[in-house]
Amino acid sequence: MVSVSATTLLRPCSGDAVLLAHLRTLRGCGSVESVFRGVINLLLPDGGLMALAVRGSGDAPRTLVVDIAHWLDRGVEAGRAVEFGPDGIALQGAFGGLRVSVRGAIKWHPILPRLDSLTPSELAVSARALHHLVSVDGEPGGMLGASPGAAPMEVAVCTALEHGRDALVRAVRSSDTVGMRDAVLALLGLGPGLTPAGDDFLTAIALLSSLDGSGLGLFARVLHDVLDEQPGRTTLLSTTTLREALSGRFRAELVDVLCSLAATPGQSEVQAIETVRAPVRRALAHGHTSGTDTLSGLVAGLHLERELRGSL
């Protein structure tokens, strides 16, 4: 018989290199923020957020992938204390303790492509290719508009998302910082499900703005300021993800999409669609509408990049 009170040691598979470095010296008590089948979010002693993802999850900023199939039957609940110490992360489940070692994890660095190698017309080709795939394979209910036969509540949210997107595009195009700020506020925290679609949309543009050669610097500053001034505008997870994106760090799936886009110069739109198809499909599979909403942000961001480049 296995004692139920035994502490189970969980091996790490891979982790965000920045997070791993931080955890090595982090000491103190945090708590469990939320529990899902595939990920547990932890509040760090410093108030930040990190994720413990299960085997097979893609790498992402502030995420440690742990060698466990899922979190369902571990009895881990939101609110429980988490100890960060020299032996790793200790958390208490209903059926005994769990300790996650941070040693031996493969370090992950998001490696982003440069954008300045793409000419404006190549940016346009890649944006159109991406748009094609998202509109064909994406999931409605967020940035793609309401699903057919949707209830009035969904329709209302999707309409609001559309207005927010249009306002943002207009403001960025005309370098109107006040308009940008209003549009960001209109999109933050808006949308059905666990990750508001507006946040996913903004995250992709934030990530684009961090690339070398991006023309979206003004937008990045506005978003940064809004997050500082109104941190409670959306969920902690969204806020954290947006901040990471502004510093050029995002889920591996989307990084793969960006890298495939950077490989499209010289291709026709049809060729570009084939080049980016596989990573785009993987990225679309994220969450319910999350992948679609993020890629919609990327489409909008790429179009903006091209237009801003043109105005130089």
Binding site: R281, R282, L284, A285
Partner: protein
């Protein structure tokens, strides 16, 4: 004479309610027990099917069928299929020639084949050296020089496209009890593979290695180690949570456990042995074909019993679903259109990418495992999109269309009840319950491969045609 009526007056009323649900409430409200059926008109209410069912239920006919079916399920349950060896198709499979291509399901011509099957056929022709490239292979396939024939008509079964060519290595499974033998191909494991319709260089390379290293090594190992009792392994695997069609993790470990000592004693290099062990470890599916050949050996022993309405074959070629029935022996196929497979897809694929139901692997369900034994494999309930209870429900529901429970292969979760065995054409039509089949989903186009897994059902037409033919043959 009226004993039964008097005893009714003395017992608690316990009603079976058929047709009108409102009577259920009325009867229950008065404190009597009542069970309301989920009733649908038998035979889908089609007059000609009802007539066939009626003909099969005339008491004398029904008695003959009853006896024949009892014999059929006895032969299924008593069959003891043993893995006795491996050999090249050309050397072991009856009727095999260098230019024969065996395929899954009922007979089909090249021009009507599904994408996955075409992909597999052209790949196999290149592998056999009959064509230089895929384009040449397609031309050759269309030329009429290649003999296409169903696996089932050569004592074989073929997973998915089931494409089997002369130099591929086959399992040899001998039915100790009844003396017949069944064959099937080796698992190519899970990746881009021929049986799913993939056919690029990596696929051909793997087939060559399987022909030159894996097959010969397995053959030699069997010569060293001797026969393996597959029914025993199957029943152990079911106790370990496999249903042995879509989940094969325990079965593969058990088979490896049986083969490993002999594999180590073969004359191959350590490097080659490691390759084989790595290959087996690369996918849980390794033992998948083994169970198919096991089931085929048992079902063939029950085929051709005059008067039996037991289904001995369910097989799909990606276009048509074919059924063979014991009492209508030989190669009489009853067909209907192949159906969609519903289930989770690999990331990035959508239902519209799916090819239709394909493969001889439904021999699993014909025998009684796979979808019929879902209750024993709670780990795969995701396939049915639901709960463990729903999985148990599938197994119990299959009890309504089968004839017996196989005492040699049991399900712990159902108090060691045997797997439902002997699908009865009459019961399928009378209940409107179609057999449930666990299966993989191949891409609809050639050259892509597996994109998901799920469950499907046969088309009812196949059973309707079989019932009519049975009625004609028995009256």
């Amino acid at each position: 004479m009226s004993n039964r009526i008097t005893s009714l007056f003395e017992s608690d009323l316990d009603v079976v309610n058929v047709g009108l649900a409102m009577f259920d409430e009325d009867i229950a409200a008065q404190g009597a027990k009542v069970t309301t059926l989920d009733w649908t008109p038998p035979g889908g209410g089609k007059p000609e099917i009802l007539a066939a069912l009626d003909a099969l239920e005339v008491p004398e006919v029904a008695a003959r069928i009853g006896e024949a079916n009892a014999l059929a399920v006895e032969r299924i349950a008593d069959s003891q299929p043993m893995l006795t060896g491996f050999g090249r198709a050309i050397d072991v499979v009856p009727g095999m020639t260098p230019t024969t291509i065996l395929h899954a399901g009922p007979p089909i011509t090249w021009d009507r084949m599904a994408g996955a099957m075409k992909g597999a056929v052209t790949g196999a022709l290149v592998f056999e050296g009959l064509a230089a490239d895929l384009e040449g292979a397609a031309a050759l396939a269309a030329s009429g020089e290649i003999t296409f024939s169903p696996c089932h008509e050569h004592d074989c079964v073929g997973s998915m496209a089931g494409v089997t060519s002369a130099s591929m290595y086959m399992h040899i499974v001998h039915n100790e009890t009844y003396g017949n033998t069944a064959y099937t191909n080796l698992s190519e494991q899970m990746a881009k593979i021929l049986r799913m319709g993939a056919n690029d260089e990596s696929v051909i390379e793997r087939l060559v290695w399987m022909r030159d290293v894996l097959g010969p090594m397995l053959k030699e190992a069997m010569e060293i180690g001797g026969p393996v009792d597959l029914r025993l392994l199957l029943s152990q695997a079911l106790h370990m949570g496999d249903e042995c069609h879509n989940r094969n993790i325990a079965g593969t470990l058990l088979l490896l456990q049986a083969l490993a000592p002999s594999l180590l004693q073969t004359g191959f290099t350590t490097e080659q042995k490691k390759e084989v062990f790595d290959f087996i470890a690369s996918s849980d599916y390794f033992s998948g074909p083994t169970w198919l050949a096991m089931a085929k050996a048992a079902m063939d022993a029950a085929h051709g019993i005059e008067g039996s309405t037991i289904v001995t074959t369910m097989a799909r070629n990606g276009v048509e679903f074919g059924v063979r029935v014991s009492g209508l022996g030989g190669n009489q196929w009853f067909t209907g259109p192949a159906q969609k497979v519903v289930g989770p897809m690999f990331a990035g694929y959508k239902p519209e990418d799916s090819g239709l139901d394909i493969g001889d692997s439904a021999i699993s369900e014909t025998y009684g495992f796979g979808g019929f034994a879902m209750a024993t494999a709670p780990a795969i309930v995701a396939l049915v999109g639901g709960t463990v209870q729903e999985a148990i429900g599938f197994t119990r529901q299959m009890g309504e269309i089968t004839t017996a429970q196989n005492p040699n292969v049991t399900i712990p979760m159902l108090d060691f009840q045997g797997i439902p065995t002997g699908i009865d054409v009459r019961k399928v039509l009378a209940t409107g319950i179609l057999p449930v089949i666990n299966t993989a989903i191949a891409h609809k186009e050639a050259g892509i491969g597996m994109i998901g897994a799920g469950i499907t059902h046969p088309p009812v037409e196949a059973f309707e045609k079989a019932a009519k033919a049975l009625a004609d043959s028995l009256i």
